[in-house]
Symmetry: C2
Subunit: 105 residues, 2 copies
């Protein structure tokens, strides 16, 4: 049963990661699953939402900028980032944003 | 050829719209296409990225909060929002965030 991230009352941070994949898996699927598992263990992690069609969008939510910095510096994550550059993505963008307001049903 | 949004140097705003659909189309596809076309015509619109699997994620980028407010108040968009509540979404979240930093390849 799919569900949306249950984030706290703003302010908090969103890392908007959008990408276009290269052809072939090249270990992408397995590493992607591991990165989600690992992100969930980080201090300050608040949730994650992900979908891919022509482009992929993963939005991860964090309590503050330090939590994002620590996640970026995680040793296993650094390895994955290197493969992202080398193997998996034709292009990607990472946007770090501060969520000011949230509503929905 | 898919491509990512070409946004300017931050700061600017991102509206992160995540959703879970109800079953059936009920006019969703046609209205979705029209909303993209209409958003692109708004002052302050900077770009849009969208993907759907189990959940849908659409991130639209805007120059400032007034541009987002005007888009929310657009008459055709208000009609679509009503159908979103009534027909198309089991749940959705809208997060308004200020992009502070952007990088990528």
């Amino acid at each position: 049963m799919p569900c949306l991230a249950h984030t706290p009352k703003p302010p908090y941070y969103a890392v908007i990661f959008t990408s276009i994949r290269t052809d072939g898996d090249n270990g992408y699927g397995k590493t992607g699953d591991r990165m989600v598992e690992l992100a969930e263990q980080q201090n300050g992690f608040l949730g994650l939402e992900s979908a891919r069609e022509d482009i992929g969008i993963t939005v991860s939510y964090w309590s503050d900028l330090d939590a994002i910095k620590n996640w970026k510096a995680n040793v296993e994550h650094i390895d994955a980032q290197k493969n992202g550059h080398k193997l998996w993505y034709k292009s990607f963008k990472i946007r770090i944003s501060k969520v000011e307001r949230e509503y929905g049903i």
